[in-house]
Symmetry: C2
Subunit: 210 residues, 2 copies
DNA sequence: AATATAACCGGACCGCAGTCCGTTTAGCAT
DNA sequence: ATGCTAAACGGACTGCGGTCCGGTTATATT
């Protein structure tokens, strides 16, 4: 069923070999991967995310179209690859970083702070994030999304939310989805601070109601 | 650029015929509209929503492909047309219907009830709802979505939520989006009652925190 | 160095949503 | 009836994401 080999890893058994992140595999494959990522960034910078079509990318990078899909699986996979640095940095902040986003602050404060950070992050990498989401059924099951969801769930638990924290994290996470946030800002002209403020209200009430 | 192209020679008046309700216009147009809706329902019933492609539909109904797009504007528009009866019935329930979904019950009760009703509705018409959403930028600005959002906002206001009810309605509405609900149920096997229960917790806390 | 082979490569190919434009026709006015 | 015109029609066409498969090449083995 053609799952997407987004990130490195997975070497064992059954399926096709996952896309090599940096090591592993033939040198030309790695070279083409870098070539493609580079060309993709150029196109996005020169025009827009929408201008980044798979054909154009292949041509720009001087490789065949098949190669693009072999490396990234799908357009969404390519977008995730383009985002992966920013995504990793963000993950680092809420896992290892300094409080209040990182560990060390009370859970409610962390919830508020990490939401605000997420909003800012989304507005910065918005177009890419939308394009990365804009596809599949498995959009919620891709590693960064799972990690993010689990983190929210953990913070809710720590804050004393005992009733179905998994679903509650899902519900709260829904409020932070890129498409919605970007729509609020770019169509309705909502100021980013209002988004953060509403998030604060929301999580405060959810936790306080405990 | 590349906004929706306006017909060259003649436009004036009514705008694009994206979704003419029932009357107005030539008889053949109305006939074809019914023909198409009928054929679309057949295809969905025989196979699935995914099997409903615009080419196949045109062929099945015995009309040209251009006609399909002229009538419904896009695939998402067609899906909305297919949903419109169910949508109208649902709207009727929360606007005119009996309490607690309709008017007459206290606002929090209405919020809880209408959310549960929405969840059930979404699970029933899930595939179509997903296909109707699955596209555009304007997905949040389509009349039923606007009405729904406004209704949530109104209930929040009545329940005493004074802080940015517009955005709060948006955040709460996000938790009820078809894609997310369907994913929870069909991938993670969440029971529908758990969804309704979490919604109840969520809105109760939001309103109580007031 | 020669060989074997698995991985990689390219681009033709497919089905799809959506557009364009020359042709036909419904409905009105005469 | 007849003629007129705006509206509707159909299907060829475009560009897209994604797949497939015969040819090519890096690398390990001898």
């Amino acid at each position: 069923m053609s799952l997407i080999p987004i990130r490195p890893g997975a070497q064992s058994g059954g399926g096709r070999p996952a896309a090599p992140a940096a090591e592993a595999g033939r040198r030309d494959a790695a070279r083409n991967r870098e070539l493609l990522l580079c060309a993709a960034r150029e196109i996005v910078e020169e025009s827009s995310v929408d201008a980044l079509t798979m054909d154009r990318l292949a041509q720009r990078a001087g490789v065949g179209k098949g190669t693009v899909f072999r490396r990234f699986g799908s357009r969404a996979g390519l977008m995730m690859a383009l985002l992966s640095d920013a995504e990793a940095e963000f993950q680092g902040r809420f896992i290892f970083g300094p409080p209040p986003v990182g560990p060390g602050a009370p859970p409610l404060e962390r919830l508020i702070a990490v939401g605000a950070a997420r909003i800012a992050w989304t507005l910065e990498f918005g177009e890419l994030a939308r394009a990365a989401d804009a596809s599949a059924y498995n959009r919620f099951d891709v590693p960064p999304a799972v990690l993010w969801h689990r983190h929210l769930e953990m913070l809710l638990r720590e804050a004393g939310v005992t009733a179905d924290p998994w679903l509650m994290a899902s519900a709260l996470g829904a409020a932070l989805e890129p498409e919605r946030l970007l729509h609020s800002v770019s169509v309705h002209g909502i100021a980013p601070e209002r988004l953060a403020e509403t998030w604060r209200e929301l999580v405060t009430r959810v936790v306080a109601g405990q």
